[in-house]
């Protein structure tokens, strides 16, 4: 991937979260940065100025502070909203409500979605997720070498969210292409990206129109009929929320499943313990969520603001690395170690405060079932070291290619 900003040599003063080496070496980079105790906030002039706070305390503080930080744009990109030819709708709504919304509008937009993703609405999906996972394993036949990201993890969330939204399952390659566009291609030429965004918009418009003409029992129809304070949602709101559910519903869980399987492929003791003791698996999944949390969010600084001595300027980006907060030794004992029976685990993998991931119950279900089925069907497997593990680039971290060798199957 081309990085127009060039390679990084100083992670404290010129970091780049979308440089491929960031996600590849993320834990070493954070540890090095945190040794500089005086200011646990890295900075870069890239993307027009971006900050990276690394402690749980600071990440928590910013996540709760909607007075100084806005969610108008949550993906750090080369262009800030004020520089875009067609800027995203201003706060409090933003381009993908409610993730891009601020209070008080945020509360209404979120309340609309919460019931669809509440625990008791998500639990009944378990059988379907289990069937999807088993079919993916069946499709691998008796191959000794498989790719647990490409042949397994990447498909599971796509199939579920496409069904929930009411979009064709056969378009899943397109969805993954748009995930790459929104989250990974952030430092590519804006002009090149704009064309792809237009294709994405056209696809959404087509399917929204189709749902207007042919209503059915799915989330797109639900959004078209929903009201906020007595008014139907604006078309931009409907499209923005579909974008949110599609993008955020796919690569996050794909990354979570992939990172968990990467851990198990590289830690045979943990793998064996979970094969022998299925009751431990949900606790282990929480630990994988803590140690390999996929999602780093972002905010924009509203007005010039001195944050613990960091002179933040209006419209600077601030990354919210929940995965780094999850490894803060002042909150988690032996934070750097993956302890699959860790009982006390207040991890922030799904964020903190009013923007807690709306799909967290679905993500947890998918992760638990995906790990469960993989271990049941492949009780023994290891990393295939003759091929390379490839990590994603940007704010969502997980393996995009995870070659494993299957040593036992059922």
């Amino acid at each position: 991937m081309t990085n127009l900003y060039g390679p990084v040599s100083d992670w404290q003063n010129d970091f780049d979260h979308a440089d491929p080496s960031y996600n590849e070496n993320i834990h070493e980079i954070w540890n090095d940065l945190l040794e500089n105790k005086k200011c646990p906030v890295a900075h870069t002039a890239r993307y027009g100025g971006t900050w990276l706070p690394l402690t749980h305390e600071y990440v928590h503080e910013i996540a709760y502070d909607t007075e100084h930080f806005t969610s108008r744009s949550v993906v750090v990109s080369r262009l800030k909203p004020s520089q875009m030819e067609i800027p995203p709708p201003p706060a409090p709504i933003g381009n993908a409500p409610p993730i891009s919304s601020d209070p008080p509008f945020h509360h209404e937009a979120r309340r609309l979605l919460l019931p669809a993703f509440a625990p008791k609405k998500i639990e009944p999906w378990e059988d379907e997720v289990r069937q999807i996972c088993n079919e993916l394993i069946d499709n691998m036949g008796d191959a000794e070498f498989v790719d647990a990201a490409i042949q397994y993890a990447q498909h599971i969330p796509v199939m579920v969210i496409a069904r929930m939204l009411g979009l064709p399952l056969e378009d899943s390659d397109k969805f993954r292409g748009w995930v790459h566009l929104v989250l990974e291609s952030v430092n590519e030429e804006p002009e090149k990206r704009r064309k792809k965004f237009e294709e994405f918009e056209a696809y959404l418009s087509y399917h929204v129109q189709d749902h207007i003409e042919n209503p059915r029992d799915d989330l797109i129809t639900y959004l078209l009929n929903a009201e906020i304070m007595g008014n139907k949602l604006m078309p931009e709101h409907v499209r923005g929320t579909i974008v949110l559910l599609l993008i955020a519903g796919i690569d996050t869980t794909w990354s979570g499943i992939g990172s968990s399987l990467w851990h198990l492929a590289t830690n045979s003791v943990d793998r064996r313990r979970l094969v022998e003791n299925p009751g431990l698996r949900p606790t282990a999944v929480e630990e994988f969520l803590r140690a390999y949390a996929p999602v780093t969010m972002a905010r924009l600084v509203k007005e010039d603001y001195d944050f613990h001595g960091c002179p933040m300027k209006a419209e600077d980006w601030v990354l919210l690395p929940f995965p780094a907060a999850n490894r803060d030794p002042s909150v988690f004992e032996e934070a750097d170690k993956v302890i699959i029976d860790r009982e006390e685990n207040r991890h922030a993998a799904f964020g903190l405060g009013i923007h807690r991931c709306v799909g967290s119950n679905l993500a947890r279900l998918e992760m638990n079932v995906a790990i469960d089925v993989f271990l049941e069907r492949f009780p023994d497997f290891e990393l295939n070291t003759s091929e390379e593990v490839k990590w994603s680039v940007g704010q969502v971290r997980g393996p995009r290619s995870l070659p494993v060798r299957v040593l036992a199957r059922r």
Partner: protein
């Protein structure tokens, strides 16, 4: 009940009250992470929006004290408290 049992009964009930453990969800802090309901469904439930509340006025039945502490220790928003 005979009248002369009354003082003893009331003493027992006071001492029981003192020993009772109660859990509380601060609904202003709860963001619906759903950890308490997943770990201790005997003590917590969630509403249609996924937000948690304590069951049975928060009274923790004997034997479930560890589950209550587990729920407290797993809430990312520090929304659960325990009174003993």
């Amino acid at each position: 009940m005979r009248m002369d049992d009354a003082p003893m009964c009331s003493f027992l009930s006071v001492s029981r009250t003192l020993q009772v453990m109660r859990v509380r969800v601060d609904t202003a802090k709860c963001q619906g992470h759903n950890r308490c309901y997943a770990l201790a469904p005997e003590l917590f439930d969630v509403d249609d929006y996924g937000n948690a509340h304590e069951l049975n006025d928060g009274v923790v039945p004997a034997g479930l004290e560890d589950k209550a502490r587990l729920a407290l220790a797993n809430c990312p928003e520090y929304a659960i408290s325990i009174e003993e």
